[in-house]
């Protein structure tokens, strides 16, 4: 069974004036069909306003499709009876860490989800401990969230979702408000969830570097899926990415230009390290000749 499946999903935001008349319609997600297998790591890229968040909110049944259908773990999200099952199956982490932490102490926040679904007290404590350990925040369990760094807060948010034992986690730009170190921390934690806990991950971001470990990358533009494929496949199409207004990393651009001038470089280079390795390999080959 597919973990997430959407069929011709369309979502329209309707703007109304003061009298309730329709003023305008924004089609935020436009006829999207996609499948995600259990255990997969999916990344969704796209510039601001391309419809990523709207798509993400359908997986957690925060929004219901205007047209089309979404299934999570085989359950139709627009069926009211499935609502709480779906929210437990597919957890969601949002962009702003401050606006999603409810507890005044780290451990209490992680316990919030299990409390809501009626887990007995003793098991809540077990879940809190195991989730905090999974994101490396167990030592901070007694801290006030206000005293943590952005990256630490996002890891607490992830633990809060983990404690509900989800099969799938959707992260909507979890790193957008963090500094480079915080971003690395969070991405490392997310990868561990996928590798160790075998949780299906949908990572939404606009940093291309963060998607390099994904199994598949989708690029969204104006509500549609504009590109899809393995990370390197997608990243090798630099011109198209620029057209879709993505921030292509400078190393990737440089590698792309060098490739165009005839250097034998592999496609879709994303880090400085990779490029220097490839370049020194080429230099070594030339010296041998």
């Amino acid at each position: 069974m597919k973990m997430i499946k959407t069929d011709k999903l369309t979502y329209e935001y309707i703007r109304r004036d003061d009298d309730g008349n329709v003023e305008g319609i924004t089609t935020a997600v436009d006829n999207v069909s996609l499948d995600v297998d259990a255990g997969e790591f999916i990344a969704i890229l796209g510039h601001n306003g391309s419809g990523k968040s709207t798509l993400a909110k359908h997986i957690n049944a925060i929004l219901n499709p205007t047209h089309g259908t979404v299934w999570v773990d085989g359950k139709d999200t627009s069926d009211e009876a499935n609502l709480w099952d779906i929210r437990q199956t597919a957890g969601m982490v949002f962009q702003n860490p401050d606006n999603q932490i409810i507890g005044q102490v780290v451990e209490e926040d992680v316990g919030f989800g299990p409390e809501n679904i009626g887990i007995p007290t003793r098991q809540i404590w077990e879940r809190v401990e195991e989730s905090l350990r999974a994101v490396g925040m167990y030592e901070y369990r007694k801290y006030s969230p206000n005293k943590l760094s952005g990256g630490q807060k996002q890891r607490v948010s992830i633990a809060g979702v983990l404690a509900m034992h989800p099969k799938c986690i959707v992260l909507d730009e979890p790193t957008a408000m963090l500094d480079p170190n915080g971003r690395k921390e969070v991405i490392r934690a997310v990868r561990a969830l996928n590798d160790v806990e075998k949780i299906t991950v949908v990572l939404i971001t606009h940093y291309m570097e963060e998607t390099i470990h994904a199994d598949r990358v989708f690029v969204m533009d104006r509500g549609k899926i504009a590109m899809e494929g393995a990370p390197r496949e997608v990243f090798s199409q630099v011109d198209k990415l620029k057209e879709l207004r993505l921030d292509v990393p400078q190393v990737t651009l440089l590698a792309y230009e060098l490739q165009k001038r005839g250097l034998q470089l592999p496609n879709g280079i994303l880090t400085v390290q990779e490029l220097t390795q490839e370049l020194s390999r080429i230099l070594a080959e030339r010296e041998r000749k």
Partner: protein, 273 residues
């Protein structure tokens, strides 16, 4: 830094009073305040003061923290005392201009001062020894019977704890906006009251917008984590009475009976009654 402020005025230390169930402390404070209004003679107040001194001692909170709470309402205390002192009719002792101090006035003012001081110190013992979180938990559980009158007890308690979580964040935000506006030449300090109130507008508007945005995000995050009100919810840290709590209830009952009996004994009745 603003984010370091502690709310309420919890004094973190280990003591038997800190460990008590918040319901005991809430109920105890309420009973104590009631007892203060039942006395008719000095013996009652003396007992109440002794009892409070014992509790303060047990709580291991330095006395100056208790008095800190007094400072903020010193003004109110002085006004109350002043009114009682000058406006009580009775046997005049001293008269200044149109005001006169009577014997009854002195006694009444003294009673009021003692009663208010005990009341304030008594309730600060509760806030100093209980985390805000524990307090809301205790209130939720104590007020649960009111649910049959359709009072949203769980929701109110949840709102209170969310407010406690967000006050430091919003304070920090206020600080940030204020600095941003000052950098653009805004002036929050000078001018008369009206001018200063007007200067607050560019501060309050962005603050409100951001607060609403946060509220919206938070509601979504709570729903995404399956929050659906108090029905069927379990507790990670449920309130459970221990033997110490029952003992404390016993002590309270004993105090109430003893002090009120002594405090209402006509043998010590205040002279004007």
């Amino acid at each position: 830094m603003l984010r370091d402020i502690t709310l309420g005025q919890f004094y973190p230390t280990e003591s038997c009073i800190h460990r008590l169930d918040p319901r005991v402390k809430l109920g105890g404070t309420m009973l104590y305040i009631i007892s203060l209004f039942c006395f008719k003679n000095a013996a009652g107040y003396l007992l109440a003061a002794l009892f409070l001194a014992l509790v303060v001692r047990l709580s291991k909170v330095p006395f100056r923290f208790m008095v800190k709470g007094m400072k903020s309402i010193l003004f109110l205390l002085l006004i109350t005392v002043g009114f009682n002192l000058f406006l009580t009719p009775g046997t005049p002792l001293v008269s200044l201009w149109k005001l006169q101090i009577t014997r009854e006035g002195i006694i009444l003012a003294a009673t009021m001062a003692v009663r208010l001081s005990l009341l304030i110190i008594g309730s600060s013992v509760m806030t100093l020894t209980t985390t805000p979180n524990h307090l809301t938990d205790g209130m939720e559980k104590m007020l649960r019977p009111l649910k049959i009158f359709r009072l949203p007890v769980h929701e109110v308690a949840m709102m209170m704890s969310i407010a406690l979580r967000f006050i430091p964040i919003l304070l920090e935000e206020t600080d940030r906006i204020m600095k941003a506006q000052i950098a653009r030449g805004a002036d929050f300090e000078s001018g008369n009251l009206f001018k200063r109130a007007k200067a607050m507008v560019p501060l309050l508007v962005p603050l409100f917008i951001s607060a609403f945005r946060r509220a919206n995000d938070l509601a979504m995050a709570m729903e995404a984590r399956c929050y659906r009100g108090g029905e069927g919810r379990t507790k990670m840290k449920p309130l459970l009475y221990t033997r110490a709590d029952y003992l404390a209830y016993g002590v309270l009952v004993f105090y109430m009976v003893f002090s009120i009996t002594a405090g209402r004994n006509t043998f010590y009745v205040l002279p004007w009654k």
